[in-house]
Structure formats: structure tokens, C-alpha cells
């Protein structure tokens, strides 16, 4: 099976800080890939490099068989992104965001209207579609960012913490939507700190720690690498070396 994301020795440094340290990702098409790691491990930096917001300091990578350095626009025609900071115009309305994205992707007006209506309905944003994004709550902003990423029907979705701040109803609907998307051949590359969600949704997982890819493979293979009966959370803690023994007590906190 060809790969949706393929990196070889991908590296990104900021001065003397190595944020991404030579990682070799292999994300299969049609997979739901969970990219995990502790805070500051390099997850968001990796997504920024893969989506073209940051230049790599070293290594090579291909997205959907296209070299993003040589032809960044061709890659962006096929991907949808919900970045860490959501990347929204504060002074456009939700509906205008969708229209803007649709036009940039070359979708005709009737299609933009139809898709917008469905997405706004799904995200429970129809009543707020005419409001400026500046007046949205955090959860609403996240939902409109997700709708904007989905509108052009991308083949690969990059989602940086998509479920954070979203209510349970919308979260359930989005999960179903993403599962359908993957079943239809789409690929999702997702970062999340909520390991239960990753365990429920993802079929493949990569774990990054201090910029290095410390584990990668199918969810079952990853679990099988540890002791029997381990949950993803327990296996994750084992891999990143943050087992419960290290959570030493703080005496003064006990009062």
C-alpha cells in the first residue's frame, strides 16, 4: 500500500533546540494515525513541517506521493488542516470562512453552499454561521476550523488536538464523521492527549519523545510489545518512561 505520509530523517531545529530529531514516519493511506507524545515532544512542530508552515532543517518527506518542497500548492490541494492555533480570520463569519476556503479550492458556488449547510448543521453552528469568529467560544472556533478543513473533501487530514474543548454531542458526531472518512479511503493524522479517543479511533500510532520517534506501528502491535493486557495509556507511559513510580508525592501539597 502506498503511503500518505513518508518521512526520512525529518529534522527541525530552532537555534540549539532540536524539536524534531530525524524521524521516519510511515503513514499508510486509509489509516487513522494517532501521533502521541508528552507536552513539548515535537508533535505540533512535526505537523507544521508536514503542512508547510515550517521548513525542515534536514531530511526528506513526501505527502500523498508529492514532494511538498517542490510543489507545496499541489499538496495543499489534497490536504485539510486544523492547526494548533486554529488559523481563523477573527473578522470573517463562520459561513464566510467556508466560502473563502471553497473558492480557494476552486469549488463551484452551489457546491460550496450545499457542503457549508451540511457541515454547519453537523457542527451545530447553523445559528451562529453569520456571527464573526471573534465572537465564537473556543469550542465553536474549533468546530468551524474542522468544518473548514473538511469542506474541500481532502484526502489527508491533519488534526492537532481536534477534540479539545468540543462538547460531547459534537465530539461523537465528529468521531463518526472521521471514521466514515477513513473507511472511504481518506487518511487522518491526529494528535491528541486524550488516549481513550486515540485508542477508540486510531488503527496506527506513532509516539514521539524529545523529538525522536520512539515507537510506531499498528495499535495492536504497539500494545503487544508490552506486558499482556496493557491499555494504550499504560503502554504509552511505559514507552515514554513516565511510569507511576516517578510520580513522587509532594509533601507540602498534602497540607
Amino acid at each position: 500500500m502506498s503511503l500518505a505520509i513518508e518521512t526520512h530523517g525529518l529534522r527541525r531545529v530552532f537555534g540549539d533546540l532540536v524539536a524534531v530529531d530525524g524521524i521516519d514516519l510511515a503513514v499508510e493511506r486509509g489509516s487513522f494515525y494517532g501521533f502521541l507524545g508528552p507536552n513539548g515532544a515535537g508533535k505540533s512542530t512535526t505537523i507544521k513541517v508536514l503542512t508547510g508552515l515550517l521548513r525542515p532543517s534536514g531530511g526528506t518527506f513526501r505527502i500523498l506521493d508529492i514532494d511538498p518542497i517542490a510543489d507545496p500548492v499541489a499538496v495543499k490541494r489534497k490536504i485539510g488542516v486544523v492547526p494548533e492555533d486554529l488559523a481563523l480570520f477573527d473578522r470573517l463569519t463562520g459561513a464566510e470562512h467556508l466560502a473563502f476556503t471553497g473558492q480557494v479550492h476552486g469549488i463551484d458556488r452551489a457546491n460550496i453552499k450545499a457542503r457549508s449547510a451540511e457541515l454547519l448543521e453537523l457542527m451545530d453552528l447553523k445559528a451562529a454561521a453569520g456571527d464573526l469568529v471573534a465572537d465564537y467560544s473556543h469550542g465553536m472556533r474549533k468546530k468551524i476550523a474542522l468544518a473548514t478543513a473538511l469542506l474541500p473533501a481532502p484526502r489527508l487530514l491533519f488534526l492537532d488536538e481536534p477534540f479539545e474543548g468540543i462538547d460531547a454531542v459534537a465530539s461523537r458526531q465528529i468521531k463518526d464523521l472521521l471514521a466514515t472518512f477513513v473507511r472511504s479511503g481518506g487518511t487522518v493524522f491526529l494528535t491528541s492527549h486524550i488516549l481513550e479517543i486515540v485508542e477508540r479511533l486510531c488503527d496506527h500510532v506513532g509516539i514521539i519523545q524529545r523529538g525522536k520517534l520512539v515507537a510506531q506501528g499498528s495499535l495492536d502491535a504497539l500494545r503487544a510489545g508490552g506486558a499482556a493486557g496493557l491499555t494504550l495509556e499504560e503502554r504509552f507511559l511505559e514507552i515514554v518512561g513516565a511510569d507511576r513510580a516517578q510520580a513522587k508525592s509532594i509533601d507540602w501539597l498534602a497540607g
Binding site: K76, D85, F100, V104, D131
Partner: protein, 568 residues
Amino acid sequence: MIRYFRAFVWLRWRLLANSMRGARRRDTLEQISRMLAILTPILLAVMSLGLVVATSALAFVAGRSAANGLFDPAMGVLILRIALAIMLAVLALFAILVPSQTSLTRYNRLLLLPIPRRVLHLVEVAASLADPWLLWIIPGVLAFALGMAQGGRPLAGVVAAVAAIAVIMTFAAVNALLSFLIAWLIRNRRRSELFTLVFVVAITAISLLPALFARDIDKRDDASPSPREPFSVVAFDRKLPAWTAALPTELYGRTVLGGLRQDGQAVAIGLAGLAIEFAVLLVLSGLVHSRLLDTPMGGRRRSSRDVTDVSILRLPLLGPRASAVAWAQFRTAMRSVRGRLMTVLGGPMIAALVLVVLHVEPDEQWPKFLTAHGYFLLGAGGVFGLYALQAFTMNLFGTDRGGMTSQFLLPLSDAEIARGKVAGCLLLLMPALILTLIVDIAVAPNGSPFFWAASFLGIIATFFWLSPIAVWLSALFPQAADLSKTGSGGNPHALPMFLGTILVALLGAPAAIILVIGVFWLHQPLLTFVVMGAWTLLAAIVAHPLVIFASRTITMRRENLALIAQGK
């Protein structure tokens, strides 16, 4: 109380010091850009320091001279009263304007700290002592008191020092009360932006009023010629309205003068008045502060329209993607305070100026000239519009914030982004120019329509010549700006803004020369229009490839631009 105050002083210091630290993720050019941006206020502060020292020295000499009887003490105190009254007005103006530039978050966030509300209020009032305007007058009034003491009137010096402290504290309380009151009134984004817009338009309109009444005052003076009497403080005081006696500056003057004249009653009344005013203002500011802390943030207005069908017009000579960028630039800018001000201020202001000139000097030659050649007014309004547009043209990639990241994530080439941004700015200039045209035609409807059209085209040509440089400077010196702010928070980087000011004049000069030659030498309206049309066409033809060439700078600086967009 002291530990809280120390904590707040430390916090302010760290925020200032950290703002000067270069972030690790910046390139060298970005570091230089940030240094330049930080150096400007530091230079201003250093220059202000010289002014403070000079004012204090002058106040010291004045205090000593007043104590020695070298000049009328009442005159020295009058100068101080006037200076303090001006400062009070400036302080009030900034107290009104500054909260509309900041966020209510600042107040609500402080609630999370384990500090009693009363203490928090006192710390905030004390913090207003660090206001630059107050910092400027404190050394002055204290130096005046010191001068009096050094001049042989130690008791009067002590009285003046006490009065100085009292008046400064009262000023701080006025500052705090107004700041809290305005912050409460404009407690959400919409209210805040509306307030700023109305405030700026009102201040501009009010500034024209004195000129409007000047003629009547002159007439009155001419009608009753009386022998000029020597200036007298007593006569001046008699002319003041009765209510001004309650102003803290007047109470201060009465106290200081009472000290010099050894008038215990005047001193007691003055100091008691200041103390009462301070107490009342402190209590009132405490009440408003408490109300402010309890104010919920946000407050949304729901739209009830069916808005799923949003159309984006494709602009001529632009592809759909660049048109979408232009449209987003235009829409977002027109919804900001800066964009609205840019549109509504230029035309009406020029027209109001002309009306004032016609009212004041109807028989002079140059008002007649202006009414005969209204298209020059249009040119002036257009140049004003280009200057106002600098918030956008000289910071093309720093005003969209998250929207810029979105454009970098979408399938848009850098050339499309640059062309779309330039087209968006041109769209933004259009309503301002059209409004100016309408208002100017209403005020001065003379001259050939071809001259009017040539003047209009001249502004467009200047914009085209400016556009590649704007793309280049915006990519080199981006600055995260908030367009809801009329102050420095909404400005571009100082360097492009400075260069832009010069460039508008330089690049607009050929169009102005074409118009002047056409009007005064050739007397050929049609020919002037044709030449100006050719000049505009040439500008468009040359600017287009240059904008695309300049967009290579976006490619090189894309990463930094994305970081600026993320506010990093």
C-alpha cells in the same frame, strides 16, 4: 499591601524586559526588526527624560524666584495652574482612550489572584502614578516646592510640597476612575470598537470647532476696540467660570499661594478641598472597579439571517484564488476600527476643513482657489486616504493573525497571496476615495469633470507604484497588529510606516505634476485626463510583475510570517 505593590512592579518590569528578549525561533532580520521597533519608544523615553529635567529645573528656579519676590508669585502659580490643567485634560483624554485599546481580560484575570478586591483597587490606583503624564509633572511640582524652600520660605515650601502630593494623588484617582469607568462601559469587543470609532470621529469634529467660531470672535474684537490693558492674574481669575474653583488644579494654586502669603485659611481650604476630592474619587473609583471585576466578559449578538450562501465576486484580471484573498482582506479590514476610520474620516474631514475655511476667510484668494479647483481637494483627500491605508499596505501579512496562517495552509501561491492582498487594499481605498469624491463635489463642485477624473486616477496610479514596495516592506518587517486599536497596537512596524510616508509623497509627485501642468499651463482637461490615464496604465503594467517579483520575499520569509501570524 507593599508585597502586592512589589509584585506588580516586578511583573511590569519582567513584561518589559521579556519583550526585549529575542525569541529563539526568529531569524536575524526578524531580530533586527524587533530591535528597531523597541528602540523607538526607548529613544522617545530618553528624549522625554531631558524634557522632565528641564521642566523641573525651570520649576525650581520659578519657585525660588517666587519665594524671593523676584516676580509676582501669583503669576508663577498661574503658570503652574495652567500647566497642571493641561496635564489634567491630557490625562483624562488618555484615561478615556487607553481602556478602549486594552482588554477587559486584564481586570478579570486579576480576580484569580488571592488579593482582596480593596487592595487590588488601591494597587491599580497606585499603578496609575506610573502613567508617563504623571511622571512628567511629579518632579515639576515638587521642584517648585523645593525652590520655594531654598529661596528662604521653608514653610511655604512644605505647604507647596503637601499640596503637590495631594494634587498628584487626586490626579491618580481621576485617572483610575475614568479608566475603570470606560473599561466598564466598553466591556465587550463591539462596544469597544464602536466607542473608539465614535471617539476618534468626535475628537476630529470638535477640533474643527474653534476655527469655526474664530471669525465671530474676531468680529467681536473688531467691533469693540478697547485700549489693551496689561495682563493681570486677578482679572484673569475673575473671568473664569465659578465651577473651575473646584478643580484640583485651582485648589492646588490657592493652597500654594496661601502658603506664600501666609494665609492659613486659604491653605486649609485648599488642602481640605483636595483631600475631599481625592477621597470622593477614590471611593467612586472603588465602586466602579468592583463593578468592573463582576462584569462578565464577552456578550454575543446572534445573527438570524440565512448565511450559508456567501458569494465571492471574482475580480477582473485576478484568478478566483487571488480574488478570494482580496475579498477576505477587504471584508476583514472593513469590519475593523482602522478600516472604518480610513473610510469615513478622510472625505468628510477634508470637506469640513473646506467649509471652515470658507466660513472664516470667504474673501481670501486661496479659499476661492479651492472652490474653483475642487479636484485638488480630491487629490489631498486621496493622499490622506493612502496614508490612512498604511495600516494595511505597510503590514500586509501582520493584520490577519490566524487568517494569515489559514492562507499559508491553503493551496495559494505566494504570488496569489501578494496580488490578492494588493487588490484587497485597492478595494479598501475605493470607498474612501468615492466618499471623498462625493463630499468634495458637494463642497466645491467646480472644474472640468476630466480634471476630477484625472485627480482620481492619479491616486490610483500612486497606489500602484507603491504596491510592490508595500509587499516587499511588509514581508521584511511584519508586525502583529490589532486593527481594532487606533494607537500603536494597530500600527505597522515603524520603519515601513516611515518609509511609506515618504514614498507616498515621492510616488504621488508625478501625478500631482501632471495635474498641475494640465490645469495651469496646458488648460487642457481632456489631454490631462488622457496623460493621467496613460500614467495609471503604466503604473499598473509595471507594478504587476514587480508585485509578483516582490512575492518571492514572502517565499523566503514565509516561516517568519507564519510565526508573526501566530503571535510568536
